[in-house]
Symmetry: C2
Subunit: 440 residues, 2 copies
């Protein structure tokens, strides 16, 4: 494993910056194993030095109030820009690139406006400028378009890429509340900014769409070239009529081919109630990409927030670090580093704990249920619901369907063996495991 | 742009191999723009030379019946193994790696069994061994786990990663048919192999799960360590009871942490009917990954088939080619190669064609509908459905809700301007675009 250490400096230490620090400090070993690079959080530039009461503590010598101490420090390899805004961020990134540093940014506004200048400069200086966290938070849609779908002619993209709007529209659909009311609630809960204009007017989504369009179609569309309509005029009446017509209203960012040109637009859109997009609720993001080879694809996850966004930022840092280390693809994936790994082992099926669906095919005699219940009880299995099916089969049996509470597989198997051996049970019972936790 | 040319040789020319050839030949320029590398399809080894009637024609000098002419050719940089099976594939890949060639494979059976040996050898020879197409076809789940989620401690993975089983279970749910009947139908339609054992017994899914588990947990679990139960004993009764209980039966591949150990299992599972996994129909694949930083994520797409799988294979070829070219991350993403791209341009919103939801707030007078209809008609807009709402507002208006057939935005805007100017229309009408095509 490559053990070179790569130094990382942060500009900005708000929500995402804190998340990035947590990962760099707490997951240093994991990252080294996964990626073969060792990252070191060297310095953080922040407007004011952090108070000792701040949640995540770092040594005070990590902090500076001078961005130059990050940008101009010859020991720093990768500069991560997380201050947002355009003017200062642009100046800092330009200087960092000119200093030969690799740059990671989550700044969609900056790239939408100055992407051409910045990528050209990065290319000239032979450094990377990575921006996964700029769009759809933790969903790796930038890398997917750049790398995984690089052999595809992209037909269309449909994205729910503004969590604030999606939260508001979801609440309007589910609670029957009006726009203003839901917006206030979203602001209280932290799902909407105090000044929510960029979100609710669709501008944030349009900025992100310029990045997706650039990657998918090789087309650097200016923000003003994107038709943008927000969600402010959607009323509860529209929500209800949509419902009656079999639709759900979502703020979609859409890019698609239209007779040799590219449509790029952001607006409230009615999508069929049974479509996957319609079922993306709350602050989640989803991007659908249809490629000529890969066909329809969909990517779903948290589009914002401290840790999901930090996950994407650190993935970018890792990519830059690999390229700094001259890291080839020959790094052994973590699972195959050694023949058996010491830190984990397989959990035998006997030890899993889950809920079970059971169908017994029993003779319709008094006492069967009592026998079965007593066996389950002896094995610490409790029945959550029971359906006795009336209809008899040709062999004189009736189905008894049960759902258990959480039980241990070993107990369940032992109980089923005894049950299937009963005289009154005529065929091997059916046993199907239930997973309720996948309910997202 | 880097214009180095990288030579690619294929072993095997079945469905996926043909798809890979099509992309390498037809999308050569696109790939060069997207990735900054030029790929050249140099040679294809195939058991018998292709008949001239084969769908996709290549010059006959491209073909050989001798694998050695691919593996041992010093001019070939990347060997793509698409013959499947374990014995020959292993031998060919070992020799290719020993010859210093980068290898791309879609062979989950091989990696599940011999991953350790092959990755160690590749690392020793400093070549890449990429395998995106081995799991979930066109869905970039391998790269996501290896790179995008490298900073995450993975909590759990839930995958629908066998399209044959998912097709069969979906048909059983939707058509009410029994297993044997649906299997025969799937075989006729090409969704199931003539010998479907590896699929319907869950073995294919278990092989793929070993790869996901290795990447997610650094744990090289042997196939025999995965509890594997197929779908053959699922009857229509189970399907119906699941439905009554609010569940859908899916074949899930599950890996998750359990008290410091890793559960890895494949079995029919009841998942809540309203969950996203329950709604993955037909031959589609879906992988849910829950990471400690990124949170819950979901990836959906075609898990098999000529072009989706080829999309993943070529993405791997491109990654290897970049590493051969010493390609840094400094390649400018395609959208920012030049300030304006010549081959595409923005389609103005005026030119889009879609269906519209319209709500007019009109005085409840005779003749309003006639006026509106005549304006729409004059602008080539035809009404698909109309709901006149009875309830009056305090200002004496009633809502008239309409859905149009496909219309051109320019016409729609012109019509709406005239309609909103009518004396009988009291407030600005609501207009929401409808997208029916996102219905996947």
């Amino acid at each position: 494993m490559d053990s070179s250490s790569v130094s990382v400096g942060l500009l900005g230490w708000g929500t995402v910056g804190t998340g990035v620090s947590k990962i760099l400090v707490n997951q240093n070993e994991l990252i080294s194993q996964n990626a073969g690079v060792r990252l070191r959080l060297a310095k953080i530039a922040k407007r004011t030095l952090p108070a000792s009461s701040d949640g995540f503590r770092l040594p005070s010598e990590c902090f500076t109030t001078k961005p130059a101490e990050v940008i101009d420090d010859p020991d720093i390899d990768i500069v991560v820009e997380l201050i947002g805004g355009v003017t200062h961020a642009r100046r800092f990134i330009v200087r960092a690139i000119q200093n030969g540093k690799h740059v990671v940014t989550a700044n969609k506004a900056l790239l939408a406006e100055h992407g051409f200048e910045l990528f050209q400069l990065a290319s000239k200086m032979k450094v990377s400028l990575n921006f996964e966290a700029s769009t759809a938070g933790g969903i790796p849609i930038i890398k997917t378009l750049k790398e995984s779908f690089a052999a595809n002619r992209i037909e269309s993209i449909y994205g729910i890429i503004n969590g604030t709007c999606n939260y508001i529209l979801t609440q309007m659909h589910e609670e029957g509340a009006d726009f203003d009311e839901v917006l206030r609630e979203a602001q209280t809960l932290g799902y909407a900014e105090a000044d929510p204009m960029l979100d609710i007017e669709g501008i944030d989504a349009a900025q992100k769409l310029t990045l997706l369009t650039a990657l998918a179609y090789g087309f650097n569309i200016p923000l003003r070239g994107i038709y943008t309509e927000g969600v402010t005029k959607i009323t509860q009446k529209e929500i209800q009529h949509a419902h009656e017509l079999g639709y759900v209203i979502k703020l979609l960012a859409i890019a698609k081919r239209n007779r040799g040109k590219i449509e790029a637009r952001v607006h409230p859109t009615m999508v069929p109630v049974r479509s996957m997009l319609a079922n993306v609720g709350g602050a989640f993001n989803t991007v659908c990409v249809i490629g000529d080879a890969v066909g329809p694809t969909l990517f779903y996850g948290q589009g914002a927030g401290e840790m999901p966004t930090a996950s994407a930022v650190v993935a970018d840092i890792i990519d830059s670090a690999k390229s700094i280390c001259g890291h080839t693809d020959a790094h052994v994936p973590r699972g195959w580093l050694s023949e058996s790994q010491s830190d984990v082992s397989a959990c035998p099926i006997d030890a899993i704990e889950t809920r079970y669906y059971v169908r017994l095919m029993a003779l319709d005699q008094p006492g069967v249920l009592a026998q079965v219940s007593s066996i389950f009880s002896a094995h610490n299995i409790s029945i959550a619901s029971l359906i006795q099916k009336e209809r008899h089969e040709t062999d004189g049996t009736a189905s008894i369907v049960m759902v258990t509470h959480e039980a241990i597989e070993k107990d369940m198997q032992a109980a089923m063996q005894k049950i299937d051996a009963l005289d009154t049970i005529k065929r091997t019972s059916q046993l199907i495991r239930i997973e309720d936790e996948v309910a997202f």
